[in-house]
Symmetry: C3
Subunit: 473 residues, 3 copies
Amino acid sequence: FACGLGAVAPAGAEEVPSLLSGDNLPRETKEASLEALIDRIEQLEATQDELLADRKSLEEQLAHRVATGHDGATMELSGRIHADLWTFPGDSPGVNGFESGDPTVSPQDEIGIRRARLTFQGDVADNMLYKLDLEIVGSNHPEFRDAYLGWRDLPLLQTLHVGNQKRPYGLDHINSSRYNVFMERPMVVEAFNPGNRRLGIQSYGVSDDQVWNWRYGAFNQGLIQDEYAYVSDNWQPQLAGRLAKTAWWHEPTNGRGYAHLALAGSWADTDQNAPVDNYAGSGRNEARFATRPEARSSASWIDTGVIADAEHYTLLASEGVLNFGALQLVAEQQNLFIERARGESLYLHGAYAYLSYFLTGEYIPWDRETGQIGRAIPNESFFAVERRCDVERGWGAWQVACRWSYADLADQDIQGGDAEAITLSLNWYWNAYAKLQTEYTWGQIEANDLNAAPAGPNAGDYQILGTRFVIDF
Amino acid sequence: FACGLGAVAPAGAEEVPSLLSGDNLPRETKEASLEALIDRIEQLEATQDELLADRKSLEEQLAHRVATGHDGATMELSGRIHADLWTFPGDSPGVNGFESGDPTVSPQDEIGIRRARLTFQGDVADNMLYKLDLEIVGSNHPEFRDAYLGWRDLPLLQTLHVGNQKRPYGLDHINSSRYNVFMERPMVVEAFNPGNRRLGIQSYGVSDDQVWNWRYGAFNQGLIQDEYAYVSDNWQPQLAGRLAKTAWWHEPTNGRGYAHLALAGSWADTDQNAPVDNYAGSGRNEARFATRPEARSSASWIDTGVIADAEHYTLLASEGVLNFGALQLVAEQQNLFIERARGESLYLHGAYAYLSYFLTGEYIPWDRETGQIGRAIPNESFFAVERRCDVERGWGAWQVACRWSYADLADQDIQGGDAEAITLSLNWYWNAYAKLQTEYTWGQIEANDLNAAPAGPNAGDYQILGTRFVIDF
Amino acid sequence: FACGLGAVAPAGAEEVPSLLSGDNLPRETKEASLEALIDRIEQLEATQDELLADRKSLEEQLAHRVATGHDGATMELSGRIHADLWTFPGDSPGVNGFESGDPTVSPQDEIGIRRARLTFQGDVADNMLYKLDLEIVGSNHPEFRDAYLGWRDLPLLQTLHVGNQKRPYGLDHINSSRYNVFMERPMVVEAFNPGNRRLGIQSYGVSDDQVWNWRYGAFNQGLIQDEYAYVSDNWQPQLAGRLAKTAWWHEPTNGRGYAHLALAGSWADTDQNAPVDNYAGSGRNEARFATRPEARSSASWIDTGVIADAEHYTLLASEGVLNFGALQLVAEQQNLFIERARGESLYLHGAYAYLSYFLTGEYIPWDRETGQIGRAIPNESFFAVERRCDVERGWGAWQVACRWSYADLADQDIQGGDAEAITLSLNWYWNAYAKLQTEYTWGQIEANDLNAAPAGPNAGDYQILGTRFVIDF
C-alpha cells in the first residue's frame, strides 16, 4: 500500500440501499413490476441473514461478559490509579522536626502509588442502590472507602444512603479526587474532616429546578475504614448538613458559566470517656484535627492531638464557586468551636481560595444535583499515533491554577500549628480520563509547639514539588 | 402535564402490525394485489432499519461491558454489604469478665461494617468452575473466603471442588449469610466449625430425583483465610461428610412445603506436636472450640482454649427442617467426642431450634440440590416512590422468628463454658435482595472457668440488641 | 427416553430455509407467481418477529452485565487461583539451619493458596491503557502487583507504561505464572530480580516483521507492592532493558517451531545512605539478592543480606529458547557485578536450562511481540462427563520437563550461598486454562555462611516435592 495513494474507504456500517428512490413518481408506476419487488425482497433476505449472523456473534460475546449476581442487580465497575512523585526542596529545622521528629532530618522524597481504587456500584430491584469501594492502597493494607446501601426516589428524603459515606462538608472533600484541580485537598478541609467518610445515614436532595441541593445526616465520628467497627459504649454522634444553591447557570452554553454558594455545618458530640475501659482499643475522643501540608508527607505537620477534655464541637462552613468558561474561582472558609470540660472553648479555623484557568479553552463542569465539580473534557485528546503515512497529534488540555490556603489549629493551650501555603499548579489533561498534575507549594507554619521536635523550633517554612499520573476507568 | 389527565401510553416494545388479518378470506382474494404486498415489504424494510440501528447500539454497549480473561471463561461478579449496630444492655460481672477481662467493664457497643464481600465465580472451558471471594472486612485486613477450582458433571463424584471451601457440617453454616433468618449463627455451629472454610477436596452430589443430596471430603484443619498457608510437618487431616434427604416436597406449590433431614459427621486427627518446632508460627493443635454469643462481641465468650493433649475428635450432627408455607421449623444437634493423650475423653455438645414465620405470607425456599435454604422473595417490594401524581407504596415482607440455642463446652477439667440463649428476631425484607434485621437475645453462661476474669465469677447472664442493614447484588 | 434409541437432533441455530433453491431455472419462471413472493414475505416476517424478540432478550441480558466506569473505557476482568502442597522429604542439618535457624528442625510442609489474583485491565479513550492487579494472597495481606497506566501506538516509544510493572530481565520472570512450565521460577531469576515489579517508566516495542522486540526503562529499586511508597531522599534509580530476536519462526505451522535469543541488562545505583535518617522506615540499600529454593519455603535459603557498602551494580543476562513442536529447550545465564565503597567488587552469577516435552503432542506457543511464552492448548480437554448413555472421556495434555539450575551468591566476604538443583516435573493440562503441576527437586547448597544457623554447617542438601492446582479465568 503506497502512502498518499488511494482513498481510504470510510469504515462504518454499510448503508442499506433504498431500491426505489424516485420519490416523485406515482406509486403504481414505480413499483408495479414484480422485478422491483423481487429485488426488494432479495435485499431484505440478505440483510436478514446478516442480522441473524450478528445475533449469534452478539450472543457469544455476551456469554463471556461479566454478569451481576442476580437479575435484580446492575453494576458499574470503575477504578482509578494515581502514581505520585514528591520532593521537598529546601530545609527548615522547624519543619524537619514536624515531619521526622529531628530538626536535622529533612522531609524525605516519596515515590509511590497514591490510589489504586476499584469501585463496585449499581442498582438493586426497583429503587435501591449500593456502592462499595476497595482502596488497595489503604493505610497499610487494602481498605474500603464508600460502603453503603440506599434508596432512590423516596418522598421527602429523595436519595438515602446507610453506611460508610462522605460527610456533607468541605466542597473539596465532596469533589472526587478524579476531578479536583489540585493534587491534595486544602489543609482546612483535611483537618476538620479527617478521613472524610463515616458510618451514618444521609439524605441527598435536589429541587425540581436544580437551583437548590442539599444533604444532611447523622454519623458516628469513629473512622472505621481501617478497623471496620467502632467499639465503645461512648458513642460520638454527629449531625451534619449542607445546603447549596446554584445561584447562576448559563443556559445558552449549558453551564459553561455558573455560580454556587453553600453553607455547611455540624454539631458533634465527642466523648471524653471514649478511651476509658476500652479493651477493644477502638475508642478515642474524636476531637482531633490534623493535616498534612497538602502533600504526601509521612506525618501530619499540624495536629492538635486528641483534645482530651473536649465535650462537643460545632463546625460552620461556607463555600462559593464562580465559573466563567475556562476560568474558575473557588473559596471556602470553615470555623470550628470546641467546648471543653475544663479549659475555655477553642476556636480553630481555616480557608482557601483558588483560581484555575484552562489555557486551551475548556471548562470545569458543575453538577447541579449534588453541588460538586464534574469531569472536564478536553477539546482535543493528547495522542501521537503513527497512522499509515503520518503521525497524528493532539495536545490535550492545559490548565494553570493558583491556590492560597491556611489552617489555624493553634488556640490557647492547644498550639497545634498555624499554617499558610501558596500552591501553583499545571495540569495536562491527555483526555477526559487521564492527566498529569504538577505542583509547587511554598508554605510556612508557626505556633506549632505540639508537633515540634524536642527542643526544636515551633515554626518553619517549606517548599514542595509534586507530580501525579492519573487515570480513571 | 396535568395530573390525572390523559392516559399514559404503555411503555413497551412496539407491536409489529399484521397487515393482513382477515384470516378467513381465501388467500388469493386478500393478498392478490400488489398494493398489499408493497405495504408488507415497506413495513419489513422499516423494521429492518430499526433492527440495524439497534444492532449498532447493542455493539456499542457491549464494548464497554466487562469481559472475562478469555473466551473459555464466564464470570458472575456478586457482592454483599452488611452494616451492623450492636448494643449490650444489662450488666453481669461474669459476662463482663468473659468479654473485657475485667468484671467491672461491660461489653461495649459496636457500630461497623460486618461484611463487605465481592465474589468472582464462573465456568471455565467444558466442565470446570472456579470461585474466589474477597472479604474486605477480614480479621484485620481483607481476606479470601471461598477460593477453589473444580469440575462439574463428573461420574460418581458429580461436582468436585479443590481449595478453600465450607466444611460439610452445620446446616446454618452451609446456608449463605445472605439468606439466614438470624443475624449470627448458632453457638454450637460456630463453636464446632470455627471459621467454617478449610483447604480441602470435596465432592457434592444429588440423586436424579433430588430426594438425596450429599457432600463429603478431606480437609486440613488449619484455618488459612488469614495466613494463606498452613506450615507444619504435623498435618491435621480431617474427613467429613453430610448426607441429606428432602423427605417431603410439596409439588403442587413447587416447594412451599418441604421436610429435610440430614446426618453429618467428621473424624479429625489433631496433632499435639503442631506447635512444636514451628518456626513459621503457623501450627497449633486444632482442638479448640469457641464461639461468640451469637453477636459481634470482641471476644469468644465460651472457649475451650487449645486442648493441648487432644489426639483426635469425632463430630456427629443431625439436623431437620420442616416448612409449611410461611412457617419454618429448624433444629440441629451436634456432639463432639475428643480423645486425649492423658486425660479422659471429652464430650462437648450443643443444639438449637428455631421457628420463623412470614407475617406477609412468603416462604423460605429450599434448594434440593445442595440441602440448604434459598432466597425468600417478598410478594411486594418496599418502596415509597413519588410518581407523577401519587406516592406508590409497597410494604415488603415481614418475618418474625424465635431461636433457642445452647452450647456446652464444659467437661471435666476443660470448663470452657456452658451457654444457653433465646433470640427474638424481626426481619423486614425490602425486596428479595435487601432487608433490615433486628434481634433481641437473652442468654446465660455457666461453668466458664477458663474465660473468667482473674478472681471473677465463672457465670453470668446477658442481653443483646442487634440491627443489620443487608443488601446483596 | 431409551438409551441408544432415536437420533438426537443437533442442537444449534435453526437454518433459515432458502425458499427458492432451483438455482438453474430462469428468474421469470421460478419467481413469477405472487404465491412464491407471498411465501418469501411471510418467511421474512416470521424471522423478523424472532429477531425482534431476541433483541429484547439481548437488551435484558445486557442490563445486568457489568459496565465500565464510563463510555471511554473497556475492561477485562481476569484472575487465577493456585493451590499448593509442598513437602520436604529428607533432612540435612545445614539446610535445616537455613530454613528454621536450628540444625535440628527440618523445613516444614506447607499447604495453602499460592496465588488468588484478580486483574483489571483495559483501554481508555483513544490510545491509553491501564492495568491493576489485586493479589489477595500478598505478603501478609492483599497487595497490588501491576499498577500502571500507559499509551499504545506512540511513535518511537510504541507502548509506554508508567507505574508498577515487571522489570525487563529474566525471561522466566517476564513469562506469566499462568504459563510457566515449572511451579517456581529459577533461583538466579528470583535472586537478581526479587519481587520482579518496580515503579518506573518503560517502553515496549516490536519491529514490523516481528523479528525484533525490546523493552527498556527507568525504575526506582524500592519494592513498593507491600508498602505502596518508597520514602527516601536517597533515590536508588536503575536503567534496564532487553533486546530480543525471534531468530527462527516456522511459518507453515504458524509457530510450532521457533528460536528466541535475547540480551538483557541493568545499571543500578544503590545508595549506602538509604537507611540513614529514614524515619519512615522505608529505605534500605537495595543491593540484596536472595531466593527461596524454587519452592515455598518460609525463608530465602541463599541470601547475601543487604550489602551495606554497595554503590552500584551491573547486570548482564542472556537467554535463548529453541522449540521443535512438543519439545522446548530454554536456557538463561545472568551475571551481577557489584561495586563497593570499601571491599572489592563482587561477582554473583547463575543460570538454568530446561527441556520440556508434551507427551501428547502439543506445543508451547511463542509471543513474538513481547518475547515470552504463551498459553499451551491441549489437543483434547480432560473430562469425564456422564452423557445420556455413556461417559465421555478426554485425557488432556501431559508434559514432562527437567530443569537444571544454579545461583552463586557467594563471593569474597559475602558468603550468601552457592546453590545447585535439578527439578523433574510432570504437568497435566486439563484444558487450556487449568492444570495440575507436580515436581521433585534435588538440590545442594554450599558456601552459605551468612544463612547458617549459629554454629551450624554452611552447606547441605535437600529434596522437595510440590503439587499445584492451577486455574485462570
